[in-house]
């Protein structure tokens, strides 16, 4: 009996040691030798591979990195983050470079698991001076570590159907307020014929929260300031009350069908959504236009970061960093990515490139990139925290209560606040 107990204790102790051996070992990171051939592994989601392959095949890249080759590991959005989370949780080696969507950044910011790019030999600070500030802030810890590099961002705008707006006699440019937007939506909607002004009332909820990736805590108090969050719920209630929405869940079959059939008049989303419209939902050029959000609100809805997992071997980190630096800070790479998949550059210096002033045929010749760039430069900073995911999920519950009319905005806010406090403390 005693022996069993002893063995069990021993086993548990061994397990504890094994599990805790995550503790940091000091490592020496060498600088990159340009003459050594490297095969860099890179884990991405969605269509990023398409964009980065184009970048790596460009003459500019080939001239700078003649000896570097790539091995991609592409998954769908969920699968990629699922795999990455598991591998990092096991503290095992992932790809040399891993892509992260902005919604997954917050967790990593304070928890570790990714290489601090502000330390030597990366010294990211020298490279990031032209990277848009809010995106950098999202990936910077309280101790001033940069754990991932922003490569593309998603300035939020209002997409609308020009033909429907013209027929309804409304102008969507420079709407002064959300109330004006709702008034315009009432004119746009023709629910009898299945034309809706917006896909779902919940589609607007994240805008007043600057996209809802971060900004959930103020001075460690959740869902503060109250007016901001209550305002977002009140907006949802008003849109719902207007009766102009299609009640369509994003990315569902009927949702995409509604866009394909041309039954949706407006949508608020990040610049990347233009790519979805262009390639898939509504490929015919000339139908859509872009406007500032009502009241010229500035917000961000999406964005991609590249990171080096802490478990990447020290001798591979320098080359991984050079590749990340190239993708994020070379104007050529940033513009190729933008052209391929509509992922908006995080590098502000390319906003001055003539390409930003071009007429875009898809938007009927409108100079939409000026709007994207202007929004990008004015997006406020959001402070991220390790509780963001929990709060976001509870917040979505409050939005659902308001959409269904089961609780008033005030009640929904209070209920959510109680749940948040019970969960995170």
């Amino acid at each position: 009996m005693k022996a069993t107990k002893f063995l069990a204790t021993l086993a548990l102790a061994g397990l504890a040691l094994g599990a805790m051996s995550c503790a940091k070992k000091a490592e020496v990171v060498q600088a990159l030798d340009p003459n050594t051939p490297y095969e860099v592994t890179i884990g991405v989601y969605g269509d990023l591979e398409k964009a980065y392959v184009a970048v790596f095949n460009s003459p500019d890249f080939k001239a700078k990195f003649p000896k570097v080759t790539f091995k991609f590991q592409t998954s769908d959005f969920g699968g990629h983050h699922n795999r990455l989370t598991t591998v990092l949780a096991a503290n095992e080696r992932a790809n040399d470079i891993e892509a992260l969507e902005v919604g997954f950044i917050a967790q990593f910011v304070e928890s570790g698991g990714l290489t601090d790019l502000n330390t030597a030999p990366f010294n990211a600070r020298q490279a990031t001076k032209d990277i848009v500030k809010f995106a950098l802030a999202n990936a910077t810890t309280t101790k001033d570590s940069l754990i991932a590099m922003p490569v593309d961002i998603a300035p939020a705008v209002l997409f609308y159907r020009e033909d429907l707006a013209r027929n309804a006699g409304v102008t969507m440019d420079n709407l002064p307020s959300w109330d004006a937007y709702i008034d315009a939506m009432k004119k746009l909607a023709d629910t009898k014929n299945g034309v809706f002004a917006i896909e779902h009332p919940a589609a607007v909820q994240a805008i007043p929260l600057n996209g809802g990736k971060g900004g959930w805590l103020k001075d460690n108090k959740p869902l503060e300031p109250k007016e901001k969050f209550l305002g977002a719920l009140e907006l949802v209630r008003k849109v719902k009350a207007a009766g102009v929405d299609g009640d369509l869940g994003a990315w569902s079959g009927p949702w995409s069908q509604a866009y394909i059939d041309g039954k949706i008049a407006t949508i608020v989303n990040g610049a990347w959504f233009g790519g979805t419209l262009r390639t898939w939902l509504s490929p015919e050029p000339g139908k859509w236009r872009v406007a500032y959000l009502p009241g010229k609100m500035m917000a961000s809805l999406g964005g991609t970061y590249l990171a080096i997992p802490a478990t990447t071997p020290a001798d591979r980190k320098p080359v991984a960093w050079e590749i990340i630096k190239y993708l994020a800070t070379s104007p050529s790479a940033q513009l190729i990515t933008f052209r391929e998949i509509d992922a908006f550059p995080a590098l502000t210096s390319v906003y001055k490139d003539p390409v930003m002033d071009e007429d875009v045929t898809f938007y009927g010749g409108q100079k939409v990139r000026r709007i994207f760039a202007d929004v990008a430069l004015n997006i406020p900073e959001n402070k991220v925290s390790e509780f963001d995911n929990v709060i976001l999920s509870i917040w979505n519950g409050a939005v659902s209560e308001v959409v269904n009319g089961t609780l008033s905005p005030e009640q929904a806010y209070e209920t959510a606040l109680t749940k948040v406090k019970a969960t995170i403390y």
Binding site: G46, G79, V87, A90, S256, Q257, I260, T276, T279
Partner: protein, 276 residues
């Protein structure tokens, strides 16, 4: 009397027929959609008949993923799992059902209880182990640990307890068969209906497993069909045609395997030694 039998029979077929339609239509639909070009998949009203995009969809499919390799991996993993599970679980089920040995009840309880532990979080320590074993990007982590799964043992024990008559075993012993002989010559042939059920379940579970290969076999050439297909599901460059064909081709082997095994379920015991 006679007409009431006809009415009864007609009613029986009506119920079965309606249910069969409800259950089978979505599958017919998968095959229909696989034959439409990518930009015409989603339509209102939906497609009820086959379209002309099959060849193009197939070309798209094989150009985007190493379809043959992925198919081979899926099939190989599923078949090796199925064969080993059937063998080891029937063996263990036989022991639990027909032998009396020390700690039998405790061991059996342990087997069943192990099924009740939610295994969702096991993937993290399991992944650590597989890295140490050097098994990442091989079939092994998806085959070996489950070779004698608790579920299969539970199933075989419950069935053998009832459907394997004791006197058949006694008779075999009198004929001079040893324990292994009984297992090979009596138990395996007679357990066919339950083995068929187990075979289907194991094959399906392995074939449809997504998270396992996603994490344990990350290389595109090394991975299985469902994981490779998920690549086609990216939001912006969305090729519905190739995706739908991929879905249909994923489903096809499962239907074939089911038809193959399911013959065993009914034909297994009706003929042969058990009658007596």
């Amino acid at each position: 009397m006679k007409s009431s039998i006809i009415v009864k029979k007609a009613l029986l077929y009506l119920i079965l027929g309606i249910m069969a339609l409800v259950f089978a239509y979505p599958f017919y639909n998968v095959f229909v959609l696989a034959t439409w070009p990518g930009d015409q998949v989603l339509r209102s009203p939906p497609h009820f008949f086959f379209g002309g995009g099959l060849a193009e969809n197939f070309r798209q499919l094989v150009s985007r993923i190493p379809f043959g390799r992925n198919f081979f991996n899926s099939l190989g993993i599923a078949l090796t799992s199925t064969i080993s599970v059937i063998f080891f679980c029937t063996m263990a089920g036989f022991a639990f059902a027909k032998y009396r040995f020390r700690f039998r009840d405790q061991l059996y309880f342990f087997v069943i209880a192990s099924m009740a532990i939610p295994g969702f979080l096991n993937i993290i320590p399991f992944y650590k182990m597989m890295v140490r074993f050097g098994w990442i990007n091989t079939w092994l982590p998806l085959v070996v640990p489950g070779m004698a799964g608790a579920f299969g043992i539970f199933l075989m024990t419950q069935f053998l307890e009832n459907s394997l008559p004791n006197d058949v075993i006694e008779a075999a012993r009198i004929d001079g068969l040893g324990d292994l002989g009984i297992l090979m010559r009596i138990v395996f042939p007679l357990a066919r209906p339950a083995m068929a059920v187990l075979g289907i379940v194991t094959f399906v579970g392995s074939w449809n497993n997504f998270t396992g290969p996603l994490i344990l076999m990350p290389k595109i050439e090394a991975t299985t069909l469902p994981v490779a297909l998920s690549l086609l599901n990216s939001r912006v460059d969305n090729n519905q045609g190739a995706l739908m064909l991929g879905n249909a081709l994923t489903l096809l082997p499962l239907i074939l395997i089911f038809v193959f095994f399911s013959k065993q379920i009914i034909s297994g015991l009706t003929a042969g030694a058990v009658k007596g």
